[in-house]
């Protein structure tokens, strides 16, 4: 026995030895021999076999839901530089990579995938080249692994899908009922509907990234799902002091980015926000917000804010929490700006706006209404009295097309008329009205006038003329749909030419021509008309709902000269800081948009003002 062992050791070849040059030819001797092993035949996998992953990169949006759900932490999201990234459309340049040292092929990642891009293949044998010999970490693509195509096995089906693709129905007043008055149309979710809607959320966070104010929507949706409404309100107030307003009229960019809309309907994030704030009593909200404030002692530095709209009040809300004294000067009789005087009651009841503002004032923000800067208080006094000043006056005036006849007394700006309606001021309700414009403001005034017509004449006669086609109109789809339901007529692709006035100075109507295209080849606004296609819409009132502008005469000549201007607007840096070190400007007057953008800008400018004030404090 020991002799044989010795022989083996003697014949053993060192691993470093390459042997004789003739050694490869010795292998030829085996060619004619019968194999002593049997070839491995791959077992045919079932149609729903859960083998290695497949991922359709065109469908995948990089939402990370697969990564989040994987209990084995087998999925990591890998950044792919060449892939498109569009946060507003809900697309991120990440794709899942699988660690097959951890994966248990449970298929949860496939079942939860909101886009249906992930599937499992029928392949279970991992063969690879020397380069990948140690790798069990694979970035699957539609073909399989290492560009080797795999047949599809387990994939999403109606039976296995873990997601609910349709949103809960929101109760709304029917058209015939709502047109009789200015009552709020949207009735809000029931408890059960809100719970089920919240349960649809996959917590991917795309909504957070798309929101201008970066609201913590996944967190408050989860809190609603957990029936913890106070927690939901606390999460909302982290970034938004107008939950009642945004829960009703937000342009909900978050929903455009929602991963759930790829194969179904986006989560009703706006309505869930509304549900949460409606659910918690106002006094309790006040207590919660005061608890969550960042307590900083009063530092005797003061800020004047001109204009009590969403941007100005958001900045005020932040600045008082930083320990500054904040006084807001508002020209109107009540605070809120366009939220109060521009948005109809049926979309945003005034008492809900009052609740949001009451929370802001409860934090120490002082608002003085009926105070016109430049008249009731001078700009010079404000500059002397305060350490920093923020201009947040918004776009107070509606633009006029200035077409012939547009200076007639029965030709109104939509902004002016909406404010009259909100203030319940007297004006002659038109029997027939024509609106110029295709945005949300045009819809607001058309639908408000329709309600008044119904109340006074029991007959609705409103025509909305737009340059754009119905599909290209700027108004929200829901606004268009509801306006049509209420009996408003849309006349699309019509350009205004003249407000027709009779010899006796009576307004006769609006002359329009066909609008062939709205934009030129470079995408610039330049409508092209067909002047042979002329239509006159008879009306005793024409309302222009087009652009808006601001009036800044109150600044006075000296400050106006000291400031830098760009295309008629005050030039500011990214933080809203003007050329004057003590002056900031924010909101629609800088860049017009909507409430949530104004809130986002309000936070940004407050941060910049706070930094400035902290420096003053340190210096002094």
């Amino acid at each position: 026995m020991s002799k044989i062992k010795l022989k083996v050791q003697q014949e053993a070849i060192s691993h470093a030895s390459k042997g004789s040059m003739l050694r490869p030819f010795k292998a030829l001797a085996f060619l004619g021999r019968k194999p002593v092993t049997e070839a491995l035949q791959a077992r045919i996998a079932a149609d729903i076999y859960r083998g290695f992953h497949l991922n359709d990169w065109d469908k995948c949006i990089g939402c990370s839901t697969c990564h989040t759900i994987c209990d084995n932490a087998a999925i990591q999201m890998v950044y792919i530089p060449d892939l498109p990234s569009d946060l507003l459309a809900g697309k991120k340049p990440f794709r899942p990579a699988i660690d097959y040292g951890r994966c248990c092929w449970c298929g949860l990642c496939v079942d939860i995938c909101p886009t249906g891009s992930l599937a499992l293949s029928k392949e279970y044998i991992h063969t690879c080249t020397e380069d990948h010999i140690d790798s069990y970490f694979i970035l699957p693509d539609p073909k399989g692994m290492h560009k080797q195509p795999f047949e599809k096995g387990w994939e999403k089906s109606d039976q296995t899908d873990l997601l609910l693709h349709h949103r809960q129905t929101m109760q709304q007043l029917p058209a015939l009922e709502r047109i009789q008055n200015f009552d709020e149309i949207v009735q809000g979710f029931t408890d059960q509907a809100a719970f089920e809607e919240a349960s649809r959320c996959i917590q991917c966070g795309f909504c957070h990234d798309a929101c201008p104010a970066q609201m913590h929507a996944p967190e408050y949706i989860r809190a609603i799902w957990e029936h913890n409404f106070e927690q939901a309100v606390t999460q909302i107030y982290r970034t938004n002091p107008f939950p009642n307003v945004c829960g009703r009229v937000c342009t909900h960019r978050c929903e455009s980015a929602c991963a759930m809309q790829v194969r179904g309907e986006a989560i009703a994030i706006r309505w869930l926000k509304r549900y949460a704030i409606d659910k918690v009593p106002h006094a309790r909200v006040k207590a919660l917000v005061s608890q969550s404030e960042i307590s900083k002692p009063d530092n005797n530095l003061s800020v004047a804010i001109i204009g009590a709209g969403p941007a100005g009040l958001t900045a005020a809300f932040d600045l008082v929490q930083q320990g500054h004294k904040v006084k807001v000067f508002e020209a109107a009789d009540k605070a809120g700006g366009m939220m109060r005087y521009g948005i109809p009651e049926y979309r945003l009841p005034a008492d809900k706006l009052d609740e949001d503002i009451a929370i802001i004032t409860s934090m120490g923000v002082e608002i003085v209404c009926n105070t016109i800067v430049g008249k009731d208080v001078s700009m010079e006094d404000i500059v002397t009295e305060y350490d920093a000043v923020l201009l947040a006056t918004g776009l107070q005036q509606g633009r006029s097309s200035r077409i012939p006849g547009s200076n007639h007394k029965n030709v109104y700006s939509a902004i002016e008329l909406l404010a009259k309606i909100k203030r319940q001021e007297d004006f002659i309700i038109p029997h027939k009205a024509v609106i110029i414009g295709g945005g949300n403001v045009a819809m607001d005034i058309a639908r408000s006038l329709a309600r008044l017509q119904q109340q006074y004449y029991a007959n609705i006669n409103i025509i909305v003329t737009t340059l754009e086609t119905k599909d290209a109109m700027l108004a929200d789809d829901s606004e268009k749909r509801e306006a049509l339901e209420e009996g408003i007529v849309l006349e699309n692709s019509r350009g205004p030419l003249e407000c027709m006035v009779c010899d006796d100075e009576t307004l006769e109507g609006l002359k329009t021509v066909a609008c062939l295209t709205v934009f030129d080849k470079e995408g610039r606004f330049h409508p092209q008309y067909d002047y042979t296609d002329e239509v006159i819409y008879s009306a005793d009132m024409v309302v222009e709902a087009i652009g808006q502008n601001t009036v800044l005469a109150f600044l006075g000549d000296t400050i106006t000269e000291q400031l830098e201007w760009q295309q008629g607007k005050i030039k500011v840096d990214n933080e809203g800081h003007t050329a004057l070190e003590w002056l900031w400007s924010v909101g629609d007057m800088v860049k017009g948009s909507d409430v949530i953008h104004a809130i986002a800008k309000g936070h940004q400018v407050a941060k910049s003002i706070d930094t400035y004030l902290q420096n003053i404090k340190v210096f002094s």
Binding site: P404, H526, P527, Q528, T560, G568
Partner: protein, 162 residues
């Protein structure tokens, strides 16, 4: 850009050089007008007025350069062959009174009105002129004014409708 009596002034010119010199003088007048306006309007409006002055200056330089070219007739032929779309939008914009420059919109309305008038007058001159190099020059000038008007219309639309 043409003044009110420009039509008659240019009509009396007989050669390409004479017409072009008249057009250059009109552009200079327009430029000087906007430059003088700069001192009268508030600072937020000055950017717009300055741009209008610069555009008139650009036309002034273009025409001056053309006047020095030996092959002026050829250049005109090349340029008038390029069709330009007139959107006619400014037909329906009311020209404010010269003294009324209350806002940016009024300034643009005024500029649009002037460009419209210039374009129409050059077109009328071209129509009245028999086929000749002079007719080509009028057509060229009308096209130039129309292009300027078109740019102003885009600005106007963006300002008022968005």
């Amino acid at each position: 850009m043409l003044e009110k009596d420009a039509y008659q002034q240019i009509k009396e010119k007989k050669t390409l050089q004479e017409v072009l010199q008249a057009a250059i003088a009109f552009e200079k007048t327009a430029r000087d007008f906007y430059q003088s306006l700069l001192t009268k309007v508030s600072k937020p409006l000055r950017g717009l007025v300055l741009e209008l002055a610069q555009e008139e200056q650009r036309h002034y330089e273009l025409f001056t350069e053309m006047a020095q070219k030996q092959n002026l007739a050829e250049i005109l032929q090349e340029n008038i062959l390029i069709p330009k779309m007139d959107h006619r939008f400014s037909d329906y914009i009311q020209t404010p009174k010269l003294s009324d420059f209350a806002d940016d919109q009024a300034i643009l309305q005024y500029a649009l009105g002037r460009e419209q008038a210039a374009m129409e007058q050059y077109r009328a001159l071209a129509k009245e002129t028999p086929e000749s190099e002079l007719k080509d020059l009028f057509l060229f000038l009308a096209i130039e004014e129309q292009a300027h008007k078109s740019e102003l219309e885009k600005r106007y639309y963006t300002m008022v409708y968005t």
